[in-house]
Amino acid sequence: MSRLAYLTISMALTFWSTGISVIADESILRDGKISYVMTDLFWSVYQTSEGNQECPRGYNDGPREQFEKLFPAHEYLTVEETQLKQEIATWHPNADPEEFEFFEVEGELSWGLNLDGEVGPNDFVHPDGSVGIDNEVYRAVGCIIGFRGPDGVEYIFQNKAIIDRVYNRMMIQLADVDSLENDDSVTVNWFRGMDRLLTDATGQKAMSGGTQRIDRRWGESLIRQSTGKIEDGILTTDPIDELVIPWMNLSVPSVHIFRDARLQLNLSSEQATGLLAGYADVDTWYYQLIRNDSTHHLSNGQISGISLYKALRRLADAYPDADLGHNTAISTALDIKMTQVYVVDPLEENSE
């Protein structure tokens, strides 16, 4: 029996038995296209209970703890000697040696992808046994409470902002798709949407089947195109030289820049979940964080911007700049969830 005949009979039986419309994967394709809008995005952090494996020495101090250690008698000091000294170090960071001991991830396991196709001494092992996993952002943030789920301040608020903020409304459109199970060549278009998400009654859970207009007024510079393939329902895309992801969580419009960015997504007719991986531009990564989160917000997650910048620079593993004399990008992976959406293009060309 052909796959199409199977699906047709399956759908008919479903209608007959339940009276509810259940659509098989391929039927949702329109002119070979299906689109998904991002609903969750956060740095992949492999966690064990209490961080026993990855953070055996504990978690890092944040600005509040560092301030108390540096200035135990602050009442005898001036704003310049204390608060502004710390703010200067935050806003004019450097890669000089740490004043404090910084706890990097020490475990062997990490989520992520093998970005460079090699297996090196600094690479992690995937929990499924795959080797050569490149994820140095994890090594930097994995022992900082604010980046750990489910209670870390960044974990909560950055993810929340992906849903709440239209500014962050990135989506992909897969084109030239014959099948969501297997297709050796598909086109992947990146756009920003400009509408609220379709959600359930709580307003928190995104639902498939919504509609998004492509933002061609403000989001033109975010449009990208790449290619990919689908194997056993998993989309793997070819690297994009430079993917810009808008990411604002506290009203400061900012971005992350990923070099060699690629997706590995488990596809269904309703959602796409998996990883976005690539090399994050270090300075852009850092300033996105501290422009959106003041020292107060960072303190709530025990995130010392001063220490974290040093770690990012120390662990940066790609895109060396000969003039600067150091790497400018750092390998990373992000957990990504997307839900199916219908896309309307104001130019009325690629509308589904």
Binding site: F67, W218, S251, S254, R291
Partner: protein, 443 residues
């Protein structure tokens, strides 16, 4: 389609000729004889004293670790020089010594109280409160009143603004003024582009160029996206406001000769999205003062932003101390310790690299009270005489220099926005936004 104008006793055409549509009409309310109303460039009508100096209140404002400002009827601004931090803004504790102690001014040196004479007579919302030393001070709606030493001319609002500010901003001083002349159901909000007319639910109000007070062309399918602002049965025309009858029993508000609408597709408060539709514009009671002709408007990924002649985004510096009196530190006559720390790690030369002043062209001149050319000593950041060697003629907004960011390379880049403490709200820089589709009413 023609619709009959229900003038309700006012002939709009003849009336319109008498209206100065560049400024905002206000309601005359009882007030002491020593005060009058000044029309300001950005903040609409404000109350001023006999010298033309704008009157300000200092409303109570919730900060991270407490409140600052004044509870109703309680002056909190006195002549003591505050020398230590208050610890309002975590994570930094209270009790740290504030900068430049020998140069610090007291609250009242910067914000002189509006003194009431012994025989001052309270009237309407104007009352008299007693200060700690027994002297009397005018209050409006129970908020003690002050003037600002930063204001120099009648109509100046250099000391503060009625613009909306967020929870992590300093406890700002706010100019007071008479109520705008609005029918119930409307409001006006100060933005960077003008005094924006909205509904009392913050929905933007629009007008259509194809309409007149007597002719409506937004009909049929047009009404799928545009909702006429309907007046209640007892509404009456007044001043710049009139009514027309769209259909029997349905009357639509008319302002300055244009029927008013809301945009059904607007997705947020104070939106300008409807103005993207050809023929439709937001309605303002008065437009913001013009910016210099050499400036440009650039599209960024977050909206329109003001830029220089080369398209580089313009930034404003904001600063308020973490002190009990929440004094500003964003003016060139204030301490420059905070700004220099943020822009150049305390090094003025680095500041000029990272955050250069926007230099005025040799042939450029000040445009208005909001956009002026001032002279700055770049080594100190202070105001300087024109003759000094190395001094810079720079553009200022509200007498504060404006800046470019060294990290912006292309028109529309806003990479410097949010730099500094509290996302640029307390000791940092924010882009000069002219259009906000994404930031929850930041204008």
């Amino acid at each position: 389609m023609y619709v009959a104008l229900v003038s309700a006793g006012v002939f709009l055409n003849s009336h319109a000729a008498e209206i100065d549509s560049s400024t905002e009409a206000f309601l005359e309310i009882p007030r002491p004889a020593e005060f009058h109303v000044e029309i300001t460039e950005r903040d609409g009508p404000v109350f001023a004293n006999s010298n033309g100096k704008t009157l300000y209140k200092w409303p109570l404002h919730k900060l991270r670790n407490g409140y600052s400002g004044e509870p109703p009827g309680t002056p909190m601004c006195y002549d003591e020089v505050v020398t230590v931090t208050a610890g309002f803004m975590s994570p930094y504790p209270p009790g740290i010594k504030l900068p430049e102690p020998e140069e610090r001014l007291s609250c009242t040196e910067l914000w002189p109280p509006v003194v009431a004479k012994d025989n001052a007579e309270e009237i309407g919302k104007w009352t008299v409160v007693e200060r700690r030393d027994g002297s009397k001070q005018w209050a409006y709606e129970e908020q003690p009143l002050y003037t600002s030493v930063r204001d120099h001319f009648a109509g100046d609002v250099i000391g503060g603004s009625t613009r909306r500010y967020g929870g992590d901003s300093p406890a700002y001083r706010v100019p007071i003024g008479p109520p705008s002349q609005l029918p119930p159901g409307f409001a006006v909000r100060t933005t960077t582009v003008g005094r924006m007319l909205t509904s009392d639910k913050n929905e933007s109000i629009y007008e259509f160029e194809g309409d007149t007070a007597a002719i409506i062309n937004c009909i049929n399918a047009c009404l799928n996206n545009w909702r006429p602002v309907v007046a209640p049965a007892l509404a009456r025309a007044q001043g710049e406001w009139d009514l027309l009858e769209r259909s029997p029993g349905v009357r639509q508000w008319v302002y300055r000769g244009k029927p008013l609408y809301t945009h059904i597709l607007d997705t947020k408060s104070w939106s300008q999205q409807g103005s993207d539709v050809p023929g439709w514009t937001n309605v303002f009671t008065q437009r913001a003062p013009s910016f210099p002709q050499s400036f440009t408007v650039q599209s960024s990924i977050a909206g329109d932003v003001l830029a220089d002649v080369n398209g580089r985004t313009i930034y404003v510096y904001r600063c308020g101390e973490d002190s009990i009196d929440q004094l500003a530190c964003d003016h060139p006559e204030d301490t420059q310790i905070y700004r220099l720390a943020m822009c150049g790690a305390g090094n003025p030369a680095k500041c000029l690299q990272h955050w250069p002043y926007l230099i005025a062209g040799a042939n450029e001149t000040s445009v208005n009270r909001s956009w002026r050319i001032i002279t700055i000593d770049p080594k100190t950041g202070r105001l300087a005489s024109n003759e000094g060697e190395g001094n810079l003629r720079v553009w200022s907004y509200r007498d504060r220099p404006v800046y470019l960011f060294g990290g912006d390379s292309r028109p529309g880049d806003v990479n410097g926005g949010g730099t500094g403490e509290w996302r640029g709200q307390r000791n940092g820089l924010k882009a000069f936004w002219l259009r906000d589709d994404f930031m929850n009413g930041i204008l």
